[in-house]
């Protein structure tokens, strides 16, 4: 039986669980793209970040987050 790729929403849940365990202080002020496996790329520009993600050839749907400056998301 062919393995089905999880939906974007399902991947999102796993990515959110991954994010909750991370400290993102080092990325403050930057955009990050992440999946359940971790951060794929980071950049201060969302456009450049999306280009990097496209070039990486990753099949999973990444979540994009701009990490706030002066605050840590938990």
């Amino acid at each position: 039986m062919k393995e089905r790729k999880p939906s974007g929403e399902k991947q999102y849940a796993n990515a959110t669980a991954w994010l909750a365990s991370q400290s993102l202080e080092q990325y403050a002020g930057q955009w990050i793209a992440y999946t359940p496996s971790g951060i794929i790329a980071r950049n201060i520009s969302l456009a450049k970040l999306m280009e990097e993600v496209a070039k990486s050839g990753i099949e999973q749907t990444p979540v994009y987050l701009r990490v706030p400056e002066g605050a840590v998301i938990t």
Partner: protein
């Protein structure tokens, strides 16, 4: 923070938004609108937006975007919401903000503390708004003249 997915035409953008009960309207960052969703901002009519932190009048465009809420891997809600996008790159919100109108007509929102051992952390709880009060039954409280 709210796990959201935005859709505009065929483009989807998964991100995290912040519920802001102090904001009249929802605000989307310019980079998310242009690069993330491919919205032709230049073609939209510019209008006056809210006052920025510095007190400067923000110029914004308004756009309808389909927003979904993702919870435990399931799309639990989806609807069209108006978002205002500040057009000045120097006056961007730090995050995507979900303001009161119209989101708070769809959900009753509590902010509750004591969910974690961290005293600074609270949690938003969203309930679908099902039994809305009738606006015509509202009685404005009398003003109190304090001398």
């Amino acid at each position: 923070m709210l796990n959201v997915v935005f859709q505009y035409n065929e483009k989807r953008f998964y991100s995290i938004a912040m519920i802001d009960s102090g904001a009249d309207y929802s605000l989307l960052r310019l980079d998310v609108a242009k690069e993330g969703l491919g919205i032709p901002i230049e073609e939209l009519e510019v209008m006056d937006g809210p006052l920025g932190i510095s007190g400067k009048q923000l110029k914004v465009v308004e756009v309808q975007i389909e927003m979904g809420i993702v919870r435990n891997g399931i799309l639990v809600w989806k609807d069209w919401l108006p978002f205002r996008v500040p057009i000045d790159p120097e006056s961007q919100p730090a995050q995507i903000l979900i303001g009161r109108d119209p989101f708070f007509y769809f959900f009753r929102i509590d902010f509750r503390m004591g969910f974690t051992k961290d005293e600074e952390l609270g949690k938003f709880i969203l309930y679908p708004e099902e039994k809305r009060r009738q606006p015509n039954r509202y009685i404005k409280p009398p003003s109190v003249d304090i001398k």
